[in-house]
């Protein structure tokens, strides 16, 4: 029996590995997801029949849990709008972290009985430390993801915790100290594990709350890695190779994705975590009174209708206004007049890695029309009209020429190389990151105020009346 169980787990692991590999290639991605899912189903089914030394099996509880969880998971994932994807991924991730917390909590609870009775064989230091760490990482992933979810869904504001950097360092040191103490001097009281859990949950909150704006994709990816690590640590407790390998794969791939995001912003991970730029409101030189040039839809429609190349630069504003399909419609209309429309996608545009790609794919924009950062900058000087749809920090020229700006050094889409720039924006409020953008005051730039979707709808009807 045990041989069959191990064989089935091995097959599950292979399916997970193949699934992940297929997921990183566009032509096989869908198959990859299905493979990984079937590996997961096989692993769960196998777990139901692993021979155990003790216990009452309690299949009724397990079946109910799986049924309720599946129904919730399927309903939520089918109902959610594509624009709400980042917060949903974050929410799911938090639940995985919470699952790791519940099981390590029960394990720790069980240890207390052993610690209180020296005649029982004692829990090893390694096992105790691993369980504590699984609870810590899981708890941080849980509250951190919930805060990220709340921020992305607009339920939690971007307010700052005073001295958050120092608070976080103190929290982290306290937690490490607490865990070290409990492992070295275990006793039967359950107070310290409870305090550790409470602090860890609170630390997840103070860790994520100060981070905002363009850093959000990095945080989501990092929290995803945390959940993987929590699963792997739990795998060590249960001596389950399946959990260990699955968790580590997620942990290491999530870390790599995080590093890719950081590289795209030319910042270190440490800098993202410690110095979230939401705090440094203002920033940059004082430019005194400056005026913006306002455009109207008719002017912009004429410019675009008689242009050869139009570059669309989407950002989070496009997601908020749900303007991706309208954008594609404008593209189709312009296409009739032989205007060539391209899309410039910054790696951290939006609130999730690759966020804009998903939205434009939903609107059926063909993949070859999407240009990544380097390719877009290479052809930027050919663009007659560059239309910024709700992007801000990723097109901020202060990143190139203003060393006092908090985003100085971050690679941006250099849209001022194009002949005309139209910025669609709701108002003159600075972007999510709270940094003033000199682009708006540049002589090449005209502002088109209003909701992105209705602005583009106006453009479409204006272009059509031009005939």
């Amino acid at each position: 029996m045990i041989a069959i169980v191990n064989l089935l787990y091995l097959i599950s692991v292979i399916l997970l590995i193949l699934g992940l590999r297929n997921l990183s290639n566009p032509s096989t991605a869908r198959k990859g997801n299905l493979r990984a899912a079937s590996g997961m189903v096989l692993a769960i089914a196998t777990t139901l029949f692993v021979p155990l030394e003790s216990g009452d099996n309690n299949y009724y509880w397990i079946a109910m849990g799986i049924i309720i969880g599946s129904v919730i998971g399927l309903v939520v994932s089918n109902r959610v709008k594509m624009t709400a994807m980042p917060e949903l991924v974050s929410l799911f991730n938090g639940l995985g972290g919470a699952c790791a917390v519940t099981i390590s909590f029960i394990e720790l609870y069980g240890f207390q009985e052993v610690f209180g009775d020296p005649s029982l064989s004692q829990v090893s230091y390694g096992r105790h430390a691993t369980t504590q760490l699984a609870m810590l990482v899981g708890a941080v992933a849980f509250t951190g993801s919930m805060i990220a979810y709340g921020k992305l869904a607009g339920k939690i504001g971007d307010w700052q915790i005073p001295f958050s950097t120092y608070i976080n360092i103190v929290f982290l040191l306290t937690l490490v100290g607490l865990i070290g103490y409990q492992v070295l001097y275990p006793d039967e009281s359950f107070t310290l594990p409870l305090i550790t859990l409470g602090l860890a949950l609170f630390y997840g909150f103070t860790f994520v709350q100060p981070i905002g704006g363009a850093d959000m994709p990095v945080v989501i990816s990092l929290l995803n890695a945390f959940t993987g690590i929590a699963a792997a640590l739990a795998g060590i407790i249960y001596e389950s190779q399946m959990m260990l390998i699955g968790g580590i794969l997620v942990g290491s791939s999530g870390t790599i994705l995080t590093i890719l995001m950081c590289e795209a912003m030319n910042r270190s991970l440490f800098n993202v975590i410690i110095g979230g730029f939401g705090g440094e409101s203002g920033g940059g030189k004082d430019r005194g009174e400056q005026v913006v040039q306002e455009a109207n839809a008719t002017d912009v429609a004429i410019m675009m209708r008689y242009a050869q190349n139009v570059m669309v630069v989407p950002g989070y504003g496009m997601a908020v206004a749900q303007a991706q399909k309208t954008c594609k419609e404008l593209d189709d209309v312009l296409h009739k007049y032989n205007v060539n429309v391209k899309y410039a996608i910054h790696p951290v545009a939006g609130r999730m890695p690759g966020h804009m790609n998903v939205l434009l794919a939903e609107a059926d924009v063909p993949y070859p029309k999407l240009f990544d950062l380097d390719d877009a900058n290479r052809v930027m000087d050919e663009s007659d009209v560059t239309l910024v749809v709700g992007a801000n920090d990723v097109v901020n020229p202060a990143a190139l020429d203003d060393p006092s700006s908090p985003i100085y050094g971050m690679p941006i889409l250099e849209i001022l190389k194009s002949k005309n720039v139209i910025v669609m924006k709701r108002s003159m409020n600075p972007g999510y990151a709270g940094i003033q953008n000199p682009l708006f005051f540049h002589e090449k730039t005209k502002m088109l105020f209003g909701d992105a979707r209705s602005s583009i709808e106006n453009l479409i009807s204006e272009v059509r009346t031009l005939g």
Partner: protein
């Protein structure tokens, strides 16, 4: 120090696998195009729900009248299942949009 040696002696295979899986994860992902960042992250997120196996083992090992363990384990199974099922379903939805081209 003794304890660390003891830990290594206790779980040699586990430590090997831990290290090898880190490299494997790195190799699997290192060449992913930007267009797949979101589905990949979402798919990996679903895989991290593998922690549900621990919750199932916990409930199976529990006595049928240990309601603290059963209750928390039951909660863990629900949370883990939402993560796994919801995660894969939402990844599939995203990837279906890419497929239509």
């Amino acid at each position: 120090m003794n304890e660390i040696i003891q830990f290594i002696e206790q779980y040699p295979i586990t430590i090997y696998m831990f290290v090898l899986a880190i490299f494997l994860g790195y190799e699997l992902i290192s060449n992913v195009p930007t267009v797949l960042h979101t589905p990949l992250m979402s798919g990996a997120n679903a895989i991290s729900g593998v922690v549900i196996i621990g919750a199932i083992l916990l409930v199976r090992q529990s006595a049928s009248d240990d309601y603290l363990t059963l209750g928390l384990g039951f909660l863990g199974i629900i949370l883990g299942t939402v993560n796994v099922v919801g995660g894969h379903a939402v990844t599939n939805r995203m990837l279906e949009m890419f497929k239509r081209k």
